[in-house]
Symmetry: C2
Subunit: 408 residues, 2 copies
């Protein structure tokens, strides 16, 4: 958490990864982010993995530091309260972040009638508004066909398009807020998940490579394209990645392994200039043969010792368990992390924002709320409702608090 955005209030009506990550990114920078959910939770509320308590660790991890209010969004009274929260006055309020169908009461037209300068960010599947998720966007991206060894397409497990979309949303909201301070204008900002994929494929040069060179990138296992890098097994059953992009990094490999002279023989042998990325890429088979033999005779810790302070660019492969148990960067030794108590899950290591601002305003990460945990406080603080009025809304089933959440 940070305080850089302290004072901003953002309302989120969302589910799954991208939009919640966009909101959490801003919450971790200090904004007050109020997530509105239907009573009982939205479609992502029971998403796996679950804790033994039944609490979704997925939901809890993507909604840290937010406030939660549960409303009967299927009833006009609940929609009216949601609209009032979204349109609440104040120069640092009037923001809605959503990936749900923005029709009816939640359309930009209906909401901007309540607040003309509303900034509404809306994530869709495709630019025409049709539905898509990370998996159905990723299959079309070209990357699964270029991943692995080539027998069949390999989906990456990281929901990379959702993550990028969430961060485009946080960027877009701050850009629109900056402009609103200048022209007073509200805006609807739309972002299509498949456009995030398509823009990224273009930004990385893959489209130009096809258009200009008619070259369709083929799978190369774990080899880097156009530079030197691959994974190598160690003598103790581990695996490491070694990379050289700069000439300095390339020379460091020769020095740290003691293979400099033999690596140098590869230049004339393969007739390439080893002081260029392309030359090293074209001679990688011979280079890999020497490195594979060297790594295969050494344990991970012996290699770590040999590479320590050498300038070699490398890293060990780790599964999620090894990452948490063995990697000091994934511990409270890293100022981004803190141990928090997450209701329904217990003590867990939680990251804050990876952005560190000078001024020492980096705050420890906050847990995710229980569903409806802040319902009463938000109604009182933002809408100025009396406890009597709030009680009536509970009695009428328009608002719910955490007790209605059996799994929290």
């Amino acid at each position: 958490m940070s305080t850089i955005l302290a004072g901003m209030r953002i309302v989120e009506v969302s589910a799954f990864i991208a939009a919640p990550l966009g909101g959490m990114t801003l919450a971790q920078l200090g904004a007050e982010v109020i997530r509105i959910d239907p009573i009982g939770g939205n479609i992502d509320y029971r998403r796996w993995p679950l804790a033994p308590s039944g609490r979704s660790l997925y939901w809890a991890s993507l909604n840290r530091g937010k406030r939660s209010i549960a409303l009967a969004l299927n009833k006009p009274e609940g929609q009216e309260i949601a609209r009032a929260l979204i349109a609440a006055p104040g120069p640092d309020a009037g923001f809605l972040l959503t990936n749900l169908p923005a029709s009816g009461w939640m359309s930009h037209q209906a909401l901007s009638a309540a607040r003309a300068d509303l900034i509404m960010l809306r994530l869709t599947g495709h630019f025409d508004g049709s539905a898509a998720v990370d998996y159905t966007v990723n299959c079309a991206s070209g990357f699964p066909m270029a991943t692995g060894s080539g027998e069949a397409p390999v989906n990456h497990v990281l929901p990379a398009w959702d993550i990028a979309a969430g961060l485009y949303l946080s960027t877009g909201l701050l850009a629109a807020e900056r402009q609103r301070r200048r022209d007073g204008q509200g805006r609807e900002v739309t972002l299509a998940l498949s456009d995030v994929m398509l823009a990224s494929v273009g930004n990385l040069g893959y489209l130009a490579d096809v258009a200009v060179n008619n070259n369709v990138r083929a799978p190369m296992g774990n080899d880097l394209y156009g530079a030197l890098g691959r994974d190598f097994p160690t003598s103790d059953g581990r695996r490491i990645m070694i990379v050289a992009i700069s000439n300095r990094q390339w020379r460091a490999i020769g020095k740290a392994t003691g293979l400099a002279e033999r690596l140098a023989m590869i230049g004339p042998m393969m007739d390439v200039d080893l002081d260029t990325e392309g030359g090293r890429f074209n001679a990688r088979g011979a280079i890999f043969a020497l490195l594979e033999a060297w790594c295969g005779k050494r344990t991970l810790s012996e290699i770590a010792t040999a590479f320590e302070g050498s300038g070699v660019l490398w890293g060990p492969y780790q599964d999620f368990g090894q990452l948490l148990s063995e990697d000091p960067r994934c511990s409270t030794a890293n100022p981004m992390f803190a141990e928090i108590t997450q209701p329904g899950a217990g003590r867990i290591l939680a990251p804050g924002t990876p952005l560190a601002f000078t001024g020492g305003d980096r705050q420890p990460p906050a847990p995710a709320p229980a569903l409806g945990q802040d319902s009463d406080a938000v109604l009182a603080e933002v809408l100025g409702l009396s406890s009597a009025a709030i009680g009536k809304l509970h009695d009428a089933g328009i608002v719910a608090g955490p007790l209605s959440d059996t799994a929290a």
Copy 2:
């Protein structure tokens, strides 16, 4: 391109993907982004893929819409000009984005002596400042060990951590700019590439799953975890991804394929509730058996016809060539794209920003500059240098224009 950030001026001293993407993201929103490179180009200037002209399509794709000035950054006079550009006055200037070692003349201390309210964003490898690249961060993330079928770790080809880091940089710069308007304070904002990875692994619930359930996610090929989804071959040698997260999407599959009754038999047969994500995940083997047989008897176009307007969440697998030649979303039919003339590459399809702001301010994408293309204009406009003074700088080898770039 957009005009939402029109008026902002950002200086970038960068290489490779993350920092250039951060700058390009802001340039595509209308900011003036001046990329400073050493004469002859930075370490990424010849990165593959290359056009027949020798021009890097990688560099050209990651630096669209920027201005380029080439300076002798290894000489005090060149460093002095760079410092003057970074510290140039104006409420909408005073921003530096870099992933290069920020020491000596480029340290925050040295630069903030020239402009006290400088906002400097600095990407590092690890939080301790040590070096890393996407590949050496990714191997440690746990994802390669959970990707593919499990014989060996599979690196994803998408540089996902670089992309996320670039978008954290654009978010962080706008957040710091907002706060500077309030408190007048400059800031150094640091972001470690491995922290972006670690935060993402935590945000997605993988760390909590290990800590709470001692569950280390294992590879499952292209199956979704905790929901229904997998890839299926078609009768004409293509492959599609079918996903059902909501019950509505699940029912749409039964309706569109005509398999509803037989799919319903799987509930009692496998003793699961098919109206839950977890139930469908646990019974996925039987569900996949029916869908595999159905898809295997049909061509991609027959399946597309059957799923048209059905509410089924699906997509075809495409390689980068098919993406460009077959997918209408990857064409000028998509308002994000335009055909541009890229010097050294010719006519190419280029994406603008995926963020669409109401107010019709979406501008067509701009090509990348030739190295040093804007050297003279930037010196005149930003520093007010006379053409005589600029000529002297050229004669002294402190500044270079595009003619010195043999590959442009």
